[in-house]
Amino acid sequence: MKIDDIRVFISSNNYEVSQSFYQDLGFKMDYATEELSIFENGGCTFFLQKTYNQVLNTQLMLQLSVVDINEAFQVISHLKGFDIKYEPIKVEPWGKVIYLWGPSGELWHVTELNKASC
């Protein structure tokens, strides 16, 4: 079996707020159904669901690999009007990371990997 893509389904406690959040973060939104949206950036996609599962979201972690973490931090730090949390850029042996909690509690590891790690 050869896999060409994996897409995650993220639940949201306020669907419209999460839709706005991910668009402001730089994703392009498309409607899939009334209760499901698809977000795309750089050929990478994920689903956002209107349903909410608190237990799932507060355990959920996703890695968002970016080309330029400083640019990502600029975008994140300028997000306004969302109940989100983020930490400063942290340097790790394998690269750099920003921890970003989305509006429904999902935790994104926004990472820029060292060139040697790829």
Binding site: T58, Q59, M61, P93, W94, V97, Y99, G105, L107
Partner: protein, 135 residues
């Protein structure tokens, strides 16, 4: 421009500053307490403290050793983690994590004891996670 403050104005500023600071601290503490175990381990501003077997408390990092220390993080390469065969119930020592702690003066890394980090398949769990503590 000369600005003059009388003593009551200064007192007002000090009280306001204290209220602002303590409110911010309470908010940050509440942020940590709202995190799940996995998310708490990841945060460099919160620390997952061991209370008793399988019972933990996620608290705001309380000193320079805990601040900036992540008890769990992504490791795309397997070269960073080495086995410590001397202690049967200890997790493998993560030397990069240890270095990130002990590079700070007065900080001592303590390896996880009987704790299973996310992404690992362990035979023992419920113990103390890795900590970066003041010596």
């Amino acid at each position: 421009m000369l600005i003059m403050f009388n003593s009551s104005t200064v007192q007002y500023f000090i009280v306001t500053l204290i209220i602002f600071c303590s409110t911010q601290t309470l908010a940050e503490e509440a942020d940590c307490q709202s995190l799940s175990e996995a998310h708490c381990l990841t945060s460099s501003q919160c620390t997952l403290n061991y209370i008793s077997e399988n019972t933990y408390s996620c608290d705001m990092a309380k000193n320079t050793c805990e601040q900036g220390f992540t008890q769990w993080t992504l490791f795309p390469t397997d070269t960073l983690i080495e086995n410590n065969s001397a202690k049967s119930h200890s997790a493998p020592i993560n030397y990069e994590q240890m270095k990130s702690c002990e590079i700070k003066a007065g900080c001592k890394y303590s390896n996880a004891e009987g704790y299973c980090e996310p992404g690992f398949n362990c035979s023992v769990t419920g113990g103390k996670p890795a900590m970066c503590e003041m010596e």
